[in-house]
């Protein structure tokens, strides 16, 4: 096994372990910490596969922004902090579904002859990724951005609620 191969399996093991911990923690803050480790490991996997740009973006966007928002919400809600894993009864059905999906994936990928060949090592430069996104797939990228904008506007509208008589539409000062 090459050094990169060893690194791949190490990162994959960390990823799986952290993902299982994320799904089973009773304490939401512990779950967030484990999820951050998951995203760091995914970023590392991208880097090992020769694509540093998606790897770093994974860390910047998911670990650095989205999970911080999760943590922010949990801190604002002040949920009671439990400890240890969730009870086995609640994990049974999702666990079976997850295991079945994993099994199906392994069977499907194993049946595909294209999955048997080893991919050549490649280095994707940031410029190449950018060209692919904004040249080849520009329509999909723009469609997603418009969709996200629509979702944002809708969330803002719903979150504000209806202004009562004589009441301004916005909340108080600040944010």
């Amino acid at each position: 096994m090459t050094a990169l191969g060893a690194l791949f399996y190490l990162l994959a093991a960390v990823l799986l372990g952290a993902a299982i911990l994320t799904a089973t923690r009773r304490n939401p803050v512990h779950a967030v910490c484990c999820a951050v480790v998951v995203f760091l490991a995914v970023g590392g996997l991208f880097a090992v596969l020769g694509a540093p740009l998606p790897g770093v973006l994974m860390v910047v966007v998911y670990a650095g922004a989205i999970m911080v928002l999760f943590l922010f919400i949990i801190m604002l809600l002040g949920l009671p902090a439990g400890d240890g894993p969730l009870p086995a009864g609640r994990l049974l059905v999702p666990g079976i579904l997850g295991a079945a999906t994993l099994l199906a994936l392994f069977v499907l990928i194993g049946a595909d002859p294209a999955a048997q060949t080893l991919l050549p090592a490649a280095q994707a430069s940031p410029a190449a990724v950018g060209t692919l996104l904004f040249d080849t797939y520009w329509l999909a990228v723009e469609a997603v951005s418009i969709l996200l904008f629509a979702a944002l506007a809708a969330a803002l509208l719903l979150g504000r609620g209806r202004p009562g008589p004589g009441q301004p539409a916005t909340g108080g000062r600040g944010a």
Partner: protein, 329 residues
């Protein structure tokens, strides 16, 4: 053989960079106390060693000897790890910071950077965005309402200003056509980007002031309302780690400002390393000066400045830069 030589060179480089970063951070604390003293018409620390030069040593020793108190009701694991996250992410970012062009030893060219990554700029941003976990988790786990308020403020502030920080760097990347820090410096051999992109420079400096949580943006640790904010419950060396993180961050900010906007090691007459040192140190002095001169913002002013001024300004600047680049092409 060559591989082991490579590993050895890498280890030596890491040791040098960590030593310089930590040493500078320790003396940054002394510099800040000295300058603040002068701004307030007093001497500042001058008792330990000549001109107080051994003060950082005395401070470190004192912190190490203090009792490390872990309060009841904290989440032990997270409480212990949080300060290390703050200091660790700041130190790790130095891995992509170049200190000059390659040096040649016995026919081998050794680049003066630990990793010359082609996504170096994004790595700096990624590590600075991870630093917020140390603050937020330390605040949450302290089980103290003032800490929690400080942590919530810190998280909100850092999410808001990260956007402006990232957007203000886009024009730099557009000019340099690369995310590698070495390439960005090479692109400034003529004119530094601070002169070519003054608006981007201004937004970057303001946003990074907020990211380092210093006055006028030190809402997460506003003493007069939140005791010490997120690090209220910390003591001894763990408290010191938060501070090491903050001052390493100041040095890091100096280094990345020098590289992104001030032309890195380029400059007339003096050797490159002198120019780099002068530029790296100019930024912390500016930060200390603002701390001595400006009052703290109100929280809603902080949010309004970030979202209503800096983000639109940075976006507009990207648009103008893009238009000018297309017209000139």
């Amino acid at each position: 053989m060559d591989m082991w030589l490579g590993v050895l060179v890498m280890l030596v480089k890491m040791a040098v960079v960590l030593g310089v970063a930590l040493g500078l951070a320790a003396y940054m604390i002394l510099l800040e106390r000295k300058l603040l003293g002068r701004f307030q018409v007093r001497y500042g620390p001058n008792r330990v060693g000549l001109f107080g030069l051994l003060q950082p040593l005395a401070d470190g020793l004192k912190m190490l000897l203090k009792e490390d108190i872990i309060p009841d009701g904290v989440d032990r694991r997270i409480f212990l790890v949080a300060p290390a996250v703050v200091a660790g992410t700041a130190l790790a970012a130095f891995a992509v910071v170049p200190f000059g062009e390659g040096l040649t030893f016995f026919g081998h060219t050794v680049p003066q950077v630990i990793v010359d990554s082609n996504v170096g700029l994004l790595m700096v941003l990624a590590l600075s965005s991870l630093a917020v976990y140390g603050l937020a988790l330390g605040a949450w786990t302290s089980d103290n309402k003032y800490s929690l308020l400080g942590g919530i403020r810190g998280a909100a502030q850092m999410i808001s200003y990260e956007l402006a920080l990232g957007l203000s760097l886009v024009p730099v990347v557009m000019h340099a056509r690369s995310l590698s820090l070495s390439d960005i410096v090479a692109a400034q051999s003529g004119l530094p980007f601070a002169l070519m992109e003054p608006v981007a420079f201004a937004t970057f400096i303001i946003a990074s002031l907020a990211e380092t949580k210093r006055i006028p943006f030190d809402l997460p640790e506003a003493e007069n309302e939140l005791q010490a904010g997120f690090h209220t419950e910390y003591s001894g060396m763990r408290f010191a780690l938060f501070f090491v993180g903050e001052y390493v961050n100041m040095v890091l900010l100096g280094a990345v400002t020098a590289i992104f906007f001030l032309g890195g090691w380029h400059g007339p007459f003096f050797p490159p390393i002198v120019w780099l040192a002068v530029k790296v140190l100019a930024v912390p002095v500016f930060l200390i000066w603002t701390r001595a001169s400006l009052p703290r913002l109100r929280y809603d002013q902080l949010m309004a400045l970030g979202w209503k001024v800096l983000v639109p300004l940075a976006l507009l600047n990207i648009l103008v830069t893009g238009a000018l680049l297309v017209l000139n092409a």
